[in-house]
């Protein structure tokens, strides 16, 4: 049974409501900015900045302090003030060190080099070349740790929304609802490619990229390996998997073994299917190129994180006449795979592949959840574009506000 359109619409309504809630809640946290005081006296020697305030930065681990000051009366754009120097001392020590120099006309600075729970006093001096005005001092300030970073409230809500829809569809699918998923050419071709290896009696080469298991692309490659290995185990074809990382070797062996056990042929599995070559990128490539020209695999899979080696591998594979299926989330390498391989999984498709191939409702549900995320991204872009365009073209009050809000919504403050 398919999910009805109405259900989807309802879900979008819920998202919209949360979205609007988010809008209203964020405005509460909008911070007011200090207004610089202007003066137009014309004295040559730079005068000290006025009214320096220092506050603990919210929200962090007591790592930074925000200093605001009123511009020196001489800082009127005529070049009499060439900058401001920010000094800092631990309170009650009077041992000021220079923290930084900022350009004239700037009246705020965030000092991220303080220690937690140490009290400081700041002093700002206006500079004119090498000469400096006397410092204006701030009240003591104590950088402190906050428990929750409220600045990331937008990230939290948007993340919750997207993660929520993925989890919602996974849970939904649990109750036995089958979802429609469109055909992905590169994945449809996997069976054909493995079949070809069977016919030709030549091995399959599987490259899970050159990054370690701490890259989510490698994990994606390994999960696809799980599905490929199942078919391989069924047909009893030779799979050859040279790897560049030891942890990947361990994980890949575990995965292939599982597939062989699942196919009821645990005896056919051998640790030699996966072998470690070297961690060095091009040493690995040199060896894999050698393997390709000597063993002439019928099918090559390149699924994971790839760098410059993508084209070397794909061209060599092409020259030995292998069918090649590639997939990576490295935008810089996608063009080479697209040009030199028969099928390429582009970015998101790599991550979707294992779910697609598994054909389990739960896994497919997560793909549906991703789509909701895309829909929200598109809705946000549409809303933002409309508001900023109207704000630029006609002004008014609502659209500039909405424009400002949309930008703030997607900006991460830290």
């Amino acid at each position: 049974m398919d999910i009805t359109k109405r259900n989807i619409k309802n879900l979008y309504c819920v998202h919209l409501i949360v979205f609007l809630f988010l809008i209203s809640s964020l405005t509460v946290f909008a911070q007011t900015e200090t207004v610089a005081e202007e003066d137009t006296t014309t004295i040559f020697i730079p005068q000290s900045p006025i009214s320096v305030t220092a506050e603990d930065y919210k929200y962090d681990r007591g790592e930074s302090v925000v200093i605001n000051w009123g511009l020196s009366p001489d800082d009127d754009g005529s070049g009499k003030v060439t900058g401001y120097e920010i000094f800092r001392s631990e309170a009650e020590q009077d041992d000021f060190i220079s923290v930084n120099v900022v350009a004239p006309g700037i009246s705020t600075f965030r000092d991220k080099s303080v220690e937690n729970n140490v009290e400081y006093i700041y002093g700002i001096a206006a500079l004119n070349g090498d000469d400096a005005s006397p410092m204006t001092l701030s009240e003591p300030v104590l950088p402190d740790t906050e428990i929750v970073n409220w600045n990331l409230l937008n990230l939290f809500f948007i993340g919750l929304l997207i993660a929520g829809s993925v989890i919602y569809f996974i849970a939904h699918a649990k109750r036995g609802k089958k979802l429609f998923i469109r055909k992905i050419a590169g994945l449809e071709a996997i069976d054909e490619a493995i079949g070809r290896a069977t016919e030709m009696g030549r091995p399959i080469l599987f490259i899970p990229g050159i990054n370690d298991m701490d890259d989510v692309q490698t994990i994606a490659g390994i999960t696809i390996l799980g599905r490929v290995a199942k078919v391989v185990a069924d047909y009893d074809i030779k799979i050859n998997m040279p790897v560049a990382r030891s942890i990947v070797m361990t994980t890949a062996r575990e995965t292939i073994k599982e597939a062989y056990v699942g196919a009821g042929r645990p005896d056919a599995y051998s640790d030699n299917m996966v072998r470690y070559i070297t961690d060095e990128q091009f040493g690995y490539v040199a060896a894999v190129d050698g393997i390709m020209v000597r063993e002439k695999p019928a099918t090559c899979f390149y699924l994971g994180a790839f760098f410059a080696e993508s084209l070397i591998l794909a061209e060599t594979g092409n020259s030995v006449g292998a069918i090649q299926i590639a997939g990576t989330a490295m935008p810089a390498q996608l063009p080479f795979f697209v040009a030199a391989c028969d099928y390429t999984l582009i970015g998101e498709e790599l991550f979707a592949a294992s779910a697609y191939l598994s054909n389990e409702p739960k896994q497919l549900g997560s793909l549906k959840g991703q789509d909701v995320g895309k829909f929200m991204a598109m809705a946000a872009i549409a809303l933002g574009v409309i508001s900023v365009t109207i704000a630029r073209a006609w002004g008014g009050s609502f659209f500039p506000w909405l424009d400002e809000f949309m930008h703030r919504l997607f900006t991460i403050t830290n």
Binding site: L155, I158, G159, I162, F180, I181, R182, I184, M213, D214, D215, V216, I219, I247, T250, T251, E254, T278, D279, E280, G283, A286, A287, D289, G290, V293, R294, A332, L334, P335, F336, V338, A339, I346, E349, A352, Y356, L367, Q370, D371, G373, K374, A377, M378, A380, I381, A382, G384, V385, V388, T389, A391, R392, A393, D403, M406, H407, F410, T411, I412
Partner: protein
Amino acid sequence: MDWTTFGVWLAAVFTLGIISFLYRDNIFYKLCEAIFVGISAGYWLITFFWDNLYSKFYSQVTDPVDPQWTPWIGFVLGALMLTRLFEKIGWLSRWPLAFIIGATAGVYMMFYFVSNAMLQVSATILPIYTGSISGAISNLFIIVGTFCGLIYFFFSKEHKGAFGGAAKIGIWFLMATFGASFGYTVMSRMSLMLGRLDFLFGQWLGLIK
């Protein structure tokens, strides 16, 4: 012949050996490959040993002033990894794997979400009205392209009708992106060879001034 000259000759021979693979697989290349695999595996083991095990573990936990205890967690997990060598307790090696996968999933999820999704959406919110026609066209292309590109990636809806049309435009944008990136790269790839040629004809043969 001094040692540096010997080194330059060695490097030149290896350079030519690898290039010979372009013609076809041969003994010369096999030799280079074998040496490369051996020394590079050794190189990385040494790098791991001094940079990770020595600097990040040994010197941290034995620091006389402020000995750290957290690296021990890594040590224990690493030791569990080695249980694979023993048939009976081999399954314990899945614990560090589970740890790595959980942590990678957690870290990457937020990392990608912030810089790839949030900031890119924010950067795509551009005015179509910019005061200049060329600016408007450029922005329109970015917005429409991003939009249609995203539509192409929809999995749960068949590419048919208007939706299919948009997905088609999305593919065109992706193709233009791939073509452009590829074209841009050709130059870069050529320069890699220039470095080697500069070495062969300059440093080795001395034919270039």
